[in-house]
Subunit: 352 residues, 2 copies
């Protein structure tokens, strides 16, 4: 029997913990390291932090100092789930790659880092190749439903005139930081102010999705722009972490546009809010391709954000381990797929 | 400027002609050879057969003897659209690959040739590698909507319990050979007899799709079976090529099942008929994943068969030219995508 795939989890927030749990539920993985900054987690065994029973695959100690586990050849893959932005995760990625580990990160900007950080992207590609590892950013969005799947569907089109992509989702299950990023609970004028001064980040991903489209189609958009509008609720909406009164902001309706020449080629719409059902808004993913042929896709309800991002990060592990070295995007790799059996059988070479 | 991508079209039926037309509508392609057996086409210029205006990219003469164009390094890619079965297209593929050409074929069995012809598949892989070319079978189904897209969707799943895939389509636009393959126009007892003696072929593809699922998930199905049932019409249904009376067969409802252990894991349903709207049957593609999360996808109307197969064959050209040598399936390659600009910019190396 081959040895197990050794994983390090860097960041034990909701994404990182979810990734750890999913990995531990599959055959053929072992978690050899976990890194977090939370004093409530540091020094504990991973299984305690995850609130599961102990076994040989989950009993590493959560450390604060990455040097304790980011050591040469200590793991096959490092999963980084600490932040959304390339600049912030870059030093972590660099350290893991230089220690000979493949890297997968949930950082939204890393799904297409060339969009905003072409120089860092070149550096990551170089580091990955020098160390013969692969680096990938992925997630449900960006990375899958508003870009990769849209691009794949154009593969059965002779002609593509325009793309209209909508994702209506429910944020009720998320925690406080997501509510703040989306401006939920603010008064409408505070929301508008927050958009101006970047306190309301909204969805991080349209620019990365647009970058993927540009590369897939080998085009250069003549203009790309985004808008963020408050979703003002007419009824009281509450979750475990936030309560919003009528007239206040229950979400962020984000729009993105990409023009090709003098016409609009892509329109993205992504209203993210808590408890949309209270105003009879149905969640779903919608892709409309105008071209030859037209394609109208609907996924209802929407692919749920949290678990889908966790799953795609884990499911890409064999594909990134089998990949040629370098900085990769979802455009470079074969399609994702669920891990059903022992993950070791999906990995071509497991060095000892 | 790089030179144009040189294509040979082998088979000028509805698929091959459609592929030729689509290729000629894109920038950066030139068709350098066309092969057909139809005396009405042999000796004519390709543009005459396609009924378009002449230019430098479509003025080759349609030949009967493949030797006239399947010559070393005469083309970059050979598109083979002559038959559905691996055994039948194998000699064509071998000749083209040995002449240094990449190959894409519409032959349904070639979308996953290992399912029925493992030895021929090994031989094709060897020939491809020896000649440093790539070979791919693809189409809308098998090759895309009932397999590749389903597999890609499982990529955002932590757990997959079962897959239910349905494609309800309209065959009205197809010609006489398709009507015969599907048993359209027969009496129900003739249809049942035709299924027994293989005169009613139905859809060729479930076994190939199942093979793709087995490889993607690295599982071995404990049982795989198919059923073909007549769609008996209650009303008169007519197309340009066939007219069916009430009580007779207007289509073939094909079912496919794949078991994992002692439970059903995949259920495929593919009713193909003419003019389903006359009995209020709505066409569409439906994918239901039971697992965590559940995913319910609908594409309505269905992705149309003819143009979608033509498009995916053409759109895969840059991906197959950029691929490592060997026999490939859609599981091995990055996702398909429409060709929007000049195809030459999508191909990494164009040798001279």
């Amino acid at each position: 029997m081959k040895r197990k795939i050794r994983v390090i989890i860097w960041g034990l927030g909701s994404m990182g913990s979810g990734i750890a749990k999913m990995i531990l539920s599959k055959k053929g993985f072992t978690i050899v390291g976990a890194i977090d900054m939370d004093p409530g987690k540091i020094g504990k065994k991973l299984y305690e932090v995850l609130d599961t029973d102990a076994n040989e695959d989950n009993n590493c100690i959560v450390v604060k100092d990455a040097d304790e586990v980011i050591k040469p050849q200590f793991a096959d893959i490092c999963m980084i789930a600490t932040a959304s932005f390339t600049k912030i995760v870059f030093p972590f990625i660099k350290r893991a790659a230089e220690a000979g580990m493949n890297v997968i990160t949930t950082a939204e900007e890393m799904s297409y880092p060339k969009a905003l950080n072409p120089e860092l992207s070149e550096e990551m590609d170089r580091i990955a190749k020098e160390n013969r590892v692969s680096i990938l950013g992925t997630g449900v969005n960006p990375g899958f439903i508003m870009d990769l799947i849209v691009i794949a569907l154009t593969g059965v089109c002779d002609k593509v005139d325009s793309l209209n992509v909508t994702r209506v989702n429910d944020l009720a299950c998320f925690g406080k930081s997501v509510m703040e990023e989306q401006g939920i609970g603010l008064r409408p004028e505070e929301f508008r102010e927050g958009v101006k001064n970047n306190k309301v980040a909204g969805h991080v991903g349209f620019l990365q999705s647009f970058g993927m489209f540009e590369e897939a189609f080998n085009v250069k958009f003549s203009d790309v722009r985004q808008e963020k509008w408050p979703i003002v609720t007419k009824v009281k909406r509450s979750t475990d972490t936030v309560s919003v009164n009528p007239g206040d902001v229950a979400g962020c309706r984000q729009l993105g546009f990409a023009d090709l020449g003098d016409r609009e080629f892509i329109r993205m719409e992504h209203p993210q809010q808590i408890r949309p059902e209270l105003e009879n808004v149905e969640t779903g993913d919608y892709i409309n391709i105008k071209g030859y042929p037209d394609i109208n896709l609907r996924i209802k309800p929407e692919i749920p954000g949290g678990i889908a991002t966790i799953a795609i990060c884990v499911n890409m592990i064999p594909l990134i381990m089998n990949s040629t070295p370098g900085l990769k995007t979802m455009l470079d790799l074969p399609v994702p797929r669920a891990i059903i059996g022992d993950v070791r059988n999906l990995v071509k070479d497991i060095s000892n």
